[in-house]
Amino acid sequence: MTSRTEFSVVAEGLTKSFGDKKALEGLDLAVRRGTVCGLLGPNGAGKTTSVRILATLLRADGGRAEVAGFDVRREPRKVRRRIGMTGQAAAVDEILSARQNLRMFARLFHLDRATARRRAEELLESFSLREAADQQVKTFSGGMRRRLDLAASMILAPEVLFLDEPTTGLDPRGRAEVWEAVRGLAAVGTTVLLTTHYLDEADKLSDRIVLIDHGRRITEDTPAALKRAVGGDRLEVVLSDPADLPLAVKAVARVTRGVGPETDEERLSVHGPVTDGVTALTDVARALQEAGASVDDIGLRRPTLDEVFLRMTGKENA
């Protein structure tokens, strides 16, 4: 087993079945202390199952796992005192206020009354919930709820924080709020294991990305290396008049730095790889408009999770 001090989360050969459905088929995982690890995979890949096993909520059928230096199966109480967990649903009390929620959870984390109160105030402050502190949680936006959820997981300033799809179902603003909160936690040295099926989320937050599917690790790398392997954003122009194709090819070629744009004559589409997507998009749009080309659609195409899997596994992901 890997050294305790170096890695906060270590899993070896985890297996788990529900009936005859195999959710995990020998998952290996190692998260270095103080880093953010993104567990990326499509729905049904086994992300939630992994996190629930690591957070002592579910017992694995086989394999072993250590979190914060303790075996999750043999010493769950010790693990529970060192982790924070936010599940797929924001598990906070709807009827209580944010402040009441944090005080309640702090008490259940066995802080004495005075410390519980103080901790609640600190967390309201650091998660920007002070103003809404006395409102009932059911009036909260998705982003606020999630932030409260995160705050509740941070009561003991845990060594390891598990986040299961922390931004699923949030609007862009809510996502940004949660991302900022997660970055704040990472900045003070919390080890974070987060699951997501958004490529950009894993990219923005993680030091390393573990790609999983069908209950197994497919690959693990830094976001930069993964993106290099997959290819970055592509700019695509779709025309309404085939006569404008040469014009579009010329315009797109100017922003792809030497890589020839590809043309799809059937769809009247021209596309090529770009590095600074937004600048390229405005440049090309302006050029085409000045040339009077008949543009039907213009936009950036990010590689989808499916494409990532296609490149990594060489097969279409079911």
């Binding site: 529970r80 009827i95 009441q100 984390f109 300033a157 704040g184 900045a187 003070v188 919390t190």
Partner: protein, 276 residues
């Protein structure tokens, strides 16, 4: 963001017992806060029994002859108390299912709190709430002219038996809450619970029902509690001489005990099996 580790209490066995109590208290406090913040919940819950009382006493009561000069009010009120306690298990089940669905139970399970507190806390607050329910119903009963003709100890024993039934059904409720997949399914419970409450001596003496139905009604735990408290309130139901009815007092104690002995372990086991 403050990352300094927070000092937490060391965990010897006696500290564990202490914290198990505190945790239970924290959960009860939360449940009571819920109640205070949503007083309409009590009204909603009592709506059905109260409307039933008024309907049966004022609309059907005049047409009902429950026998031997027994006033319908004196017959129906204890029945209504018992039924309210019996239907209480749906609140328990619904509460558990909502917490399970929202992931609150998972959050608790991922924390170092005492696992027993989740279930014990709910038990305590449900009994407290049942006490409030009974107080409200008894006040309404007094307003419409119902009186207990039993002595004070008898009357208090009657209310204790009612809470005893409610206590037993907490474990049925927790178990159902844990095995039901979601709120909708739990909502359908009402369809099951309704006949369970009706096929009893709550509204009609079983002796007036067809034989087979009467037999089921007599053996219904709700009937035993209803009949026992009718006795304690000084208005016993004339019995057909059957053993079940003669021994209502014994059964009002024994039925809930049996339910607890079966469903408490089932609920605990099911809770532990959430890790499967």
């Amino acid at each position: 963001m403050n990352a300094a580790p927070i000092a937490i209490d060391a965990e010897g066995p006696e500290r564990r017992a202490y914290w198990a109590l505190i945790d239970c208290g924290t959960i009860v406090r939360r449940d009571l806060t819920h109640l205070v913040k949503q007083p309409s919940l009590i009204a909603w819950q009592l709506g059905f029994p109260i409307v039933s009382v008024l309907l049966f006493v004022y609309v059907f009561g005049s047409a009902m002859d429950v026998g031997e000069g027994l006033d319908y009010k004196d017959f129906a009120m204890p029945g209504m108390f018992a039924m309210t306690m019996a239907f209480g298990f749906m609140n328990t089940a619904m509460g558990v299912v909502i917490e399970k669905e929202r992931g609150v139970i998972d959050r608790f399970r991922s924390m170092p709190m005492a696992p027993s507190a989740v279930v014990a806390g709910r038990g305590v607050s449900d009994v407290l709430q049942a006490g409030v329910d009974l107080a409200v119903m008894a006040s309404i009963a007094l307003v419409i002219g119902w009186r207990s003709d039993g002595s004070l100890p008898e009357t208090l024993t009657a209310f204790a038996l009612l809470l005893w039934l409610r206590f037993a059904l907490i474990w049925v409720g927790v178990w159902i809450g844990l095995v039901t997949p979601n709120q909708e399914a739990a909502g359908n419970l009402f369809a099951v619970a309704f006949p369970f409450g009706m096929v009893s001596s709550v509204f009609t003496p079983p002796s007036l029902m067809p034989d087979w139905l009467g037999a089921i009604a007599m053996w219904n735990p709700v009937s035993s509690t209803a009949n026992a408290i009718r006795e304690l309130f000084g208005n016993p139901l004339p019995t057909g001489g059957s053993w079940v009815e003669e021994n209502a007092m014994l059964l009002a104690f024994a039925w809930p005990l049996a339910l607890t002995l079966v469903f408490l372990p089932l609920a605990v086991r099911r809770y532990q099996r959430l890790a499967r």
